[in-house]
Subunit: 344 residues, 4 copies
C-alpha cells in the first residue's frame, strides 16, 4: 500500500514498449530524430496552436530551465510558499537563474489569488535597482495540496501578471490530473487562460522520466536550447525521452491514467471522510488526499504496511498526512487502507 508518492510507481507497459520499439537502428542524436520532431506536431495539435516543445528528464529540470529562460538574474518569481519550486528543488531555480529570487506567498489550499499577488507586488518598485524586479508568476496545477485552479482563476492571475509585465509559468507536474478534473481542453487550461510556458509532466503519471517544456509562443523560447545543453539536460539519445512522451499522449492514454488516479483519490477521500476521527483537510481535485488522522490510526495503518508522508507535525492527537494515488495504484489498496483506517 504505497501512497507515498505517485512517482513510487513504475511505468506503463505501453511506454516501456515504445522505448523498445525506438531502440533499434541508428538515428541522429540530440533530438534530431523523427520521434522528437513529431512531438512538435502532436503537442501543437493537442494545444491547438503552434508550440515549441523541449523534452527533459525531470520536473526540476523542466521548471528551473523554463524559469531561467523567463527570468533575468535580477528578477523575482512569485509562487505559492508551499510550491515545489520553492520548497522541494533545493534551490534549483535560483541556481539556473543565477540568483533570481523566489517570493513564496501564502494562500488557502496551496492556491494563489489575484489579491494575494497584488498585495505582494506592492512591495516591489519597478525600476528601483535595489529590489529584484517582478518577472514571473509560477502557478502549480494541480497544486501541492491536490487542489485545482479553474481556467477562470488562472486567467485572473495571468491577467494581473501580464499587466505587470510578468510572464506566467505553470508547473504541470500533475497537469494530467488537473485536466482530468477540469471540464476543459488543454488550451483552455493554459494559454487561453494566459499561461506562457508549461512544464508538462509525464513522469508521475506513468512515464519513466519524461517532461516537456512547452512554450506557447515559440519565439519566447529564446536561448532555452543552450540552457538545456549547458545544464547537462540535452541527452544524446533523445528519442528515448521523446518516445515516452509520444506513447503518453497516444490515444488520450495520459488522461485516462489521470482519471483513474483521481477516481482512486476521490474514493479514498470519501471513504476516509466517513471514518470517525478522520478529516479531509483540502478539497480533493486531483490524485492526492490530505487528511488529518488520529495518531493511533496512523500507527495501525503503518503497522500493516501503508506508506505515506506526514505533512505537518502532530497537533492535538492528529497528524496531517498526504496520500497520493497513481496510474498504477491497485484498486484493492484503497479498500484495504480504508478497512484498516476503520479499525479492521
Amino acid at each position: 500500500m504505497n501512497f507515498a508518492s505517485d512517482n513510487a510507481y513504475g511505468a506503463w507497459p505501453e511506454i516501456v514498449a515504445a522505448i523498445g520499439t525506438a531502440a533499434s537502428g541508428a538515428v541522429s542524436s540530440y533530438g534530431e530524430d523523427a520521434i522528437t520532431a513529431g512531438l512538435r506536431d502532436k503537442f501543437s495539435a493537442l494545444f491547438e496552436r503552434e508550440v515549441a516543445v523541449f523534452p527533459v528528464i525531470s520536473g526540476t529540470a523542466a521548471n528551473a530551465l523554463a524559469l531561467a529562460t523567463l527570468t533575468p538574474q535580477h528578477g523575482a518569481i512569485f509562487c505559492h510558499a508551499e510550491s515545489h519550486i520553492a520548497v522541494d528543488e533545493c534551490g534549483a531555480p535560483e541556481f539556473f537563474t543565477h540568483g533570481a529570487k523566489l517570493v513564496g506567498l501564502e494562500g488557502k489550499d496551496a492556491k494563489l489569488t489575484p489579491a494575494i499577488l497584488e498585495s505582494a507586488l506592492a512591495h516591489y518598485h519597478k525600476g528601483f535597482v535595489h529590489h529584484v524586479q517582478p518577472s514571473c508568476l509560477s502557478v502549480t496545477q494541480a497544486s501541492e495540496l491536490g487542489t485545482v485552479y479553474t481556467p477562470g482563476e488562472i486567467a485572473a492571475l495571468s491577467s494581473l501578471a501580464h499587466a505587470h509585465a510578468m510572464n506566467v509559468h505553470m508547473d504541470g507536474a500533475r497537469f494530467a490530473n488537473a485536466l482530468a478534473t477540469l471540464d476543459c481542453s488543454p488550451a483552455e487550461a493554459t494559454w487561453r487562460a494566459g499561461v506562457d510556458v508549461l512544464s508538462f509532466g509525464a513522469t508521475k503519471n506513468g512515464a519513466l522520466g519524461a517532461e516537456a517544456v512547452i512554450f506557447f509562443n515559440p519565439k519566447e523560447a529564446g536561448d532555452f536550447e543552450y540552457r538545456r545543453k549547458k545544464g547537462g539536460h540535452l541527452i544524446s539519445k533523445m528519442r528515448f525521452v521523446s518516445a515516452q512522451l509520444d506513447a503518453y499522449l497516444e490515444g488520450g492514454r495520459w488522461l485516462a491514467a489521470a482519471r483513474r488516479a483521481n477516481a482512486l483519490a476521490t474514493r479514498l477521500a470519501e471513504g476516509l471522510g466517513a471514518v470517525a476521527g478522520a478529516e479531509i483537510a483540502h478539497p480533493v481535485g486531483a490524485n492526492a488526499v490530505f487528511a488529518r488522522l488520529p495518531q493511533a490510526m496512523i500507527a495501525r495503518l503503518r503497522a500493516q504496511g501503508a506508506q505515506f508522508y506526514d505533512w505537518s507535525p502532530p497537533e492535538a492527537g492528529r497528524t496531517l498526512v498526504r496520500l497520493v494515488t497513481s496510474f498504477a495504484t491497485p484498486q484493492g489498496d484503497i479498500e484495504k487502507f480504508l478497512m484498516i483506517a476503520r479499525g479492521g
Copy 2:
C-alpha cells in the same frame, strides 16, 4: 551506414528488458530503491574497493557535476584543448562550478603528458589571488581522437597533479572502449593509477541514457548529492537509470560490446589504410577512426548513404573525417563502406 557517432545507435535489448522488469510495482523514489542500492556493491566489486556511485542521465551532467564537486569557483581545470568538457559541453563545467576556468592544453593524439601539464602549471602561482588556482586535472579515456592512455601514462599524470594538490578526474564516456583495449583491470586503469573520480559512461555503449559518477574515495563526494539535485539531475524514478547500469555490467556485457565496437574500428582502419589516397591520422585505440580522405571519395561515400563528420576543413584535396563504430554497427556496414571507398 551511420558512423556519425556511437550515440546514433539505440540500446541493447537486454537493457530495454531490464527497464521493463523494473517497471512494475511501487518502490521508494529518488534513488532509495533496491536496484540503485545494489549498484554500490556492484561497482565496488568491479573496482575492487569501496566506491560511491551516483547515476545520472548524461555525460555532460556526469562531468560537470563531478568537476564542480572537485573544483572551487576560483579553480582551474586542466584538460586537453580538444576534450569534450572544453569543446562540446557549451560551457557546462563553467556553469556548474560558478565560473572556474578550463585550461585547454595541446597534445598529440588528444592526449596529455606530464611535460605538457608541467609547462602549463608554470604559469599559475599558488596563492596568487589574481590567478585561478590549479585544482583539477581532467583526462579523457578513450580520448576525443580515439586514442587510449596506458595506466602508466595516467599514473604519471596523476602523480604530477597530486603533487600540485590537484584532483584527477577521468571522463570515461568511452571507458569501456578504452578498457577493452588495455590489458588491465578497471582498478588498474583508474584509482590505482591515481584517478580520484570517474565519469563512467554507458550511453554510448548501449544504454538509453545512463552514466555513473564514481568517487573512489567516497568521502570526497562531499555535497555531490545536493549538486545533483540542484542541477535537476536527481530523477525521481531512479530505478530506471540504475537498471540500465545494472544490466550494462551484468556478465561483462559492457566489455563484450566495447570489444565488438573496437574490432569494427580496427577492421575499418585496416581496410581504409590500404585504400589509395586514404590515410589513418591517429592510432586506433578504441572505436573511432580518424582518416584523411580525398574529397571525391568522401562525396562518393556520402552519395551512397554513409554518415560521418568532417573533423577539420579540407586541406590539399583531403579532409580529416571521424568514423565511429558502436556496439550495434552492422558488420556489413564496414565492408560496404570500404567497398565504396575503394571506388566500387
Copy 3:
C-alpha cells in the same frame, strides 16, 4: 533637511585628510601595503582577539561575500524578512552563493528571536536532499527599523544557530550606532555573543565607501580572498579604503559620531512623540526614527524641504515614514523639522 538616509551625507574631514596623506608615494597594491596590514592589528585590538579583516567598498559586497563564504550553494540563510540582504540587495547573496536561499522570517521591530528561528527550522530536514540546508543565520545590528539587539539576545540566537550547525553573520552596516547604544564592548556585542562573521560598516557613519568583513576565527575565512577578487572587489589601491577604516577607528571617532547621530534621533523621536497625530512606531535604538505621521503633516514637511522615505502605504490618513539621522546631520535640522511638524 535630509533624513532620507545616513548615506546621503558625505564624509568626515579627517577621513578625507587620511586619504590625502595616503596618496603620495609608491606602495604595493592589492592590499600589500602598510595601512592595510595595520588594520589587522587595530581590529584585533578592538575586538580583543586575533581576527581576519578584509576591506571592501560597499555593504552589499561585504554581506554577499561573507555569506558566500559561509554558505554552500545548497544552503539556506535565515534572516529577517525586512533585512537589507533580503530586500535591498537585488539578490546579491543569491548571486554570490550561486543560488542559496534566503529565508525571510517575520519578527517584531525587525528583530528575530530563538522561537521564530526554531519554528522556521522545523520545516527543514537535515540531509533531505530536496530541501536547502540551514547553513547561516544573519542578523542585522542595528536592525532595519532602528532597533538594537542586546548581547543576550544575540547570544540566544547564536546558540540555537550553532546547535543546528549554522554560522552566524551580523550585518553591521550600522554597527557603530548599535554599539553606541549598548553598554558593552565590541567583543561582547559580537563573538562573545556567538557571532562568527561581521560586516563592519563605516560608510553610513562617515567614510566615503569602506566596510570591513571581520572573521572572528580567521581560519573560517577560507577562500574569501578569491571570492573578493573574482567579484571585482579586490581594489588595486587598497590603501585608500584601508586609510578610511584606519581614520574611522582612530581615537574612537567612529563611536563618537554614532553617538551624535543617535542623540539626534532620540531628540527627533521625543519631539515628534509629543506632536498631536504623530506616533513613534518602533523603539528608537540607533539613528533612525519610524513614525506614523498624518498626511497633511507629511505634505507640509516636504513642502518646506524635508526629505525622507515613506515606509508603507498610507493607512487611515497616516503614513509610516523613516527619518534617518547621521554623523553630519545639522542639529538645527531637527528643530526645524519639529517646528514644521508642529504646524509652525
Copy 4:
C-alpha cells in the same frame, strides 16, 4: 624606484581635492547626485556622441560587468591569451556571465589581428548547441605588453566581429596611455572604429579607484544597472567615485598625465636599449617597457632598490622583465635605474 605597476602610485592631489570638495552636504545616494549626472554630459562631449556612463571602482568590475551585459551564459568571448580578463581576474568574467567561455588567442605583441580571430571563429558553429557561441570580442588598449592598436587595426577587428554578430569590448584600463600615443580623438579610437563598450580606466593613471563603463549605444546597456547592484558595485556615496572621474577629465589632465608616463617609458626604453646585454622585447607604445635583461643586471638593480616583475622564467642568462611608469614616477628614478643598469 617602483616600476612594478602603475597602480603602485597613489593619486593626484587634484583628485583628492575633488573628493574633499564633494564631501560636504547631503545629496541623493546611489548615483542620483549632480556630479554623477554631470558625467554623462562630459563623457558624451568627450566622445562626441550620447553615451551611457556607469562608474565602478575596479577594472575587474568594469570588465566583468560589461562582458556579462554583452554575453549570454552560452557565449564565447574572444580575447588575447595574455589579456587581463583571461589571466589576471581570477575568472571574474566567467563568474559574472554565469559560465561563458573566454577563448584566449595567441598574437604577436599581445595584439590580435583579423586573421587570428577568423581562424579561431572557424572552430565555432553558429547555432550548434554543443558549442559556446561567439558573442564578444574583447581587445585591450593599451595591451598587456604596452603595445597600442591603431584605429585602423581596431576597425578591422570590429568589422569582422560585427560580421559575426559579436559585440566589441575594449578593456581601456590604460586607455589614456594608448590615446596619448595615437594621433586621434577618443571617438576615433573607439566607436568610430567599431567599439561598442569601453572600460575607461582612471585608477592606474592617478585616480584612487574609479573606472567608467561607457556604452556608446546607451540602449545596449540593458540591465547593466541591475548587474552592478547585484554584484555589490553600486556604491551608496557614488559622488566620491564620480568626483574622481570628473577631476580626471578636467582640462585634459588625464591625457597630460598619460603623456608624462609614456614619455618616461620611452626614455627608459631608449636608455635601456643602449645598454649592452639589454634588449627591448616589444614596441613601447604606452607606459610599459618589456626588456630582456641579464640576470646579473637584474640582481644589481634589485639590490639597489628597483622594483619590477619578472614576466617569464630566465632563459639563456636573461629574464624578460616588465617596467611600468606612471603619472607620478619620479623622473630621477629613470636616470637612476639606467645608471645602475649600465653598471654604475
